[in-house]
């Protein structure tokens, strides 16, 4: 496990990351007879043993419902579930656990805000998104605009995949009610200057939702620094289980927002005439939540808290740089899509004459898992004039061998296609 220290040598770093790899049992297996090089972390990351054990324990011994029973098991489950909420609060430096709503994932978090906060939009209002967004940060706003008559406005990006800051500022105006933008682009890896963009949006009177799904496994995110109104992310991209996610919302907003779904746990009293709603954050958590999943998410947060993020950043960037250089130097006809100066560890690329799907199938036979396709970001693909890209995305457990294996797989593709 990595311990935060001010100075460390490159060799020390390598050794620490090698040890850390052992925490992830999925990485110990053979795929098509070859060691797995898992480079699809932007889609979903592997989880450490600590997460599996926390979930197994919850399921085996403590399984029960939360917030209702007076019996021992329910008290344990409630303590574990609410304990995870406090872990998440601390992890993102939110002011209060009342600002942490558990959801199924980033997509549900965004839909919650669009459906609930969105009710105050009127015809003529504007929702400003960026060209970098994942479909989950486009379609909920499109649906909202269809319902309310508001207008969806898209802030353009430059040829390197970075947001055009001047255009963003020009598009902000007194009609802009909501700004929704990715912290890190899933398709290109572009890192947006979120704090700066939030300040500009606030100056124009808009509230800001940040899609943080790709940011939380790589960066320290701090709600006080970013000052965004909403921040959405998923458990399964930060070494936790699928089916878990978080919506952070500033208390002042959450308090005035109507419920998203109705059901148990989100009410105080129910009668056929009228119901009154529970306090935050329970108002937004109707029905029995994914208790085991949230316990796993809490364990994933513990794991991330034990790691020095500055070292992770250096490690992942070393892998990204090496992979970028080698793909360009060694794979004829390769082109990188998304070359912004500030990027997270995503390498999206195309190779002349070899479709991304064929690359994906061929490297898979070498034990290398990458994502190929449009990455749920069709407008981004359109912007760069490609139907699909191959995407290798790195996490803290990847190493230089993984990069070597990727290159060997790509060489194999070139041999097959070019003889």
């Amino acid at each position: 496990m990595i311990v935060a220290t001010a100075e460390r040598s490159a060799t020390r770093l390598q050794r620490d990351f090698a040890a850390l790899r052992k925490d992830f049992p999925a990485l110990q297996q053979l795929i098509h007879g070859k060691p797995l090089a898992y480079l699809d972390n932007a889609a979903s990351s592997q989880s450490p043993t600590a997460v599996h054990e926390a979930m197994a324990l919850q399921q085996r011994l403590h399984h029960s419902n939360v917030h209702r029973g007076v019996h021992q098991l329910s008290e344990r489950s409630t303590a574990a579930y609410e304990g995870a909420r406090e872990k998440v609060r601390r992890f993102i430096n939110a002011s209060s656990t009342t600002e942490i709503v558990f959801t199924r994932g980033t997509t549900e978090s965004i839909n919650l805000v669009a459906a609930s906060f969105g009710q105050r939009l009127r015809a003529g209002d504007e929702v400003l998104i960026t060209w970098l967004e994942h479909h989950s940060n486009i379609v909920p706003w499109q649906l909202l605009c269809e319902r309310t008559g508001a207008r969806l406005v898209v802030s353009p990006i430059r040829d390197d995949g970075s947001l055009d800051g001047a255009a963003f500022e020009q598009l902000l105006n007194e009609r802009t009610r909501i700004v929704a933008l990715a912290h890190v682009s899933n398709a290109l890896g572009t890192l947006n200057p979120v704090a700066e963009l939030v300040a500009k949006a606030h100056a124009a009177g808009a509230v800001v939702l940040v899609d943080g799904a790709q940011a939380v496994p790589h960066l320290r995110v701090d709600m006080q620094d970013l000052d965004c109104d909403f921040y959405a992310f998923s458990g399964h991209k930060m070494f936790g289980p699928t089916g878990t996610g978080v919506l952070y919302g500033k208390r002042a907003h959450l308090e005035t927002m109507p419920p998203y779904q109705g059901g148990g746990d989100m009410i105080l009293t129910v009668s056929f005439e009228r119901s009154t709603y529970n306090a935050l954050p329970y108002k937004f958590e109707a029905g029995t939540p994914n208790i085991t999943g949230v316990v796993g998410l809490g364990a994933a947060v513990d794991y991330l808290e034990s790691i020095d993020f500055a070292a992770v950043d250096a490690h992942e960037h070393a892998l990204l740089e090496r992979a970028t250089e080698r793909v360009l130097a060694e794979i004829p006809g390769a082109r990188i899509v998304g070359t912004a100066a500030r990027k997270a560890s995503v390498l999206s690329f195309v190779v002349d004459g070899i479709h991304a799907h064929d690359l994906g199938t061929i490297v898979d036979r070498e034990g290398v898992a990458i994502r190929t396709g449009h990455h749920c970001a069709m407008p981004v693909m359109e912007r760069f004039g490609v139907a699909a890209t191959a995407r290798a995305s790195f996490a803290l457990y990847n190493n230089h061998d993984d990069v070597d294996r990727l290159l060997a797989g790509l060489q194999r593709a070139v041999e097959i296609f070019r003889g």
Partner: protein
């Protein structure tokens, strides 16, 4: 022959590099748009039907080697064929790609048997089948339309 070579046989690579009957068909009587939502691949199939025959057929679009080769091989094979024969061929290809137990492809499939390589790659079956669904829609329906692999 390893599994990759079985998938990317020479005939597939050749038809991917030099797709036959590629481009628009100005006097098409049927136009079908095919989409594979999984990967965003798109193809448009142009068919000119007359006297119960496929008089001419062309396709356009972007896709992986399997999808382009499948479209190219298909157009080469059904050009000039009676509609009934094309529909029969659809059934044979469908069986080749998806039948639960592998068996020797019937001899009359000829070059098309190369498409059977996708059987070992479940996520790629749709790449091979898209063109054939578009063909079926083009010749079987009264109206032009669109198909997806979903």
């Amino acid at each position: 022959m390893d599994e990759l070579q079985d998938l990317y046989r020479e005939v597939i690579l050749d038809h991917n590099r030099n797709p036959r009957n590629f481009g628009e068909l100005a006097d098409a009587t049927r136009v079908v748009a095919g989409v594979n939502p999984l990967c965003g691949d798109k193809m448009t199939l142009y068919v000119k039907l007359a006297d119960g025959r496929i008089q001419d057929i062309r396709f356009q679009g972007t896709g992986c080697a399997i999808s382009v080769a499948s479209s190219s091989l298909m157009t080469e094979r059904v050009k000039g064929a009676p509609v009934a024969a094309a529909l029969e061929l659809f059934d044979k290809i469908h069986e080749l790609l998806t039948a639960p137990h592998a068996h020797e492809p019937s001899a009359d499939l000829d070059k098309l048997a190369a498409l059977g390589g996708v059987r070992e790659y479940p996520s790629r079956v749709k790449c091979a089948s898209l063109a054939w669904h578009a063909l079926k829609s083009a010749v079987a329906d009264d109206q032009a339309g669109s198909v997806t692999t979903e």
